[in-house]
Amino acid sequence: MRLPCPHCGPRDYSEFRYGGDAENPRPKHGTGDLQAWHDYYFVFNNPKGPHEEYWQHVLGCRRWFKLKRNTATNEVIGVVQP
């Protein structure tokens, strides 16, 4: 698999680390009750299809980015601009 690092361009999968689900909005710092943080941290859409997720180009420029990828095909749809 090749992943599009927003700084370095397309690179081999082996240069990256996965950072998990990016579909749940993180409660703003200092806000959110137990339920809100539970739903953010522990419950997932886990779709079979397009999925937003975090990756870090950890052996490269160390950029984190939000990637949209089809979990049914591993096809990269693109970097989600913040």
């Binding site: 700084h7 370095c8 361009g9 690179r11 240069e15 052996l59 490269g60 420029c61 160390r62 950029r63």
Partner: protein, 176 residues
Amino acid sequence: MLERRSALADAHPFAWAALTLGEVRGFTLTQAAVFDKAAEAQVAAVIGALPQENTRAIESNGRTLFRTGPLAFWCVGPENDDLAAQLQGKAIMTPLSHSRTRISIEGSAARAMLAKGLPIDLHTSVFTPGTFAMTGLHHTPVLLHCVAEARFELYAMRTFAMDAWEWLEDAALEFR
């Protein structure tokens, strides 16, 4: 003065017909980071033109400059380069001279040897002089800089430098 000791002090550089492996010592590596383009301009005002491409280094006032992030640079200058002082307050300066060990790889076999470990396209038509890449060698981060058609400099993490060296030595064996 306290004596400096390189991570490769006990390594054995070699020069064969097809391949030369050595260490470059006596340089200053400074990281400059800013938070916006305006601040980047201020940096440029002090040290000169900054590289605009993410994959090509430029030479500027005796320094080699790499754009290592959207708003971050590696500046490799001569020993005792006081860039950090010059840019104090203008940018976030982090001296990294001791963080990276600079390994030189030269010769007709250099690309073939590096291709054993680096998941990037090293073809002469692609990885041309001036090109650099931040990538992985043997599970550790490295910055590879193509200095000339057949000469490369590999910036390895200091604590992994000997490991990288031993890996390169082993990879080089068939080109002896």
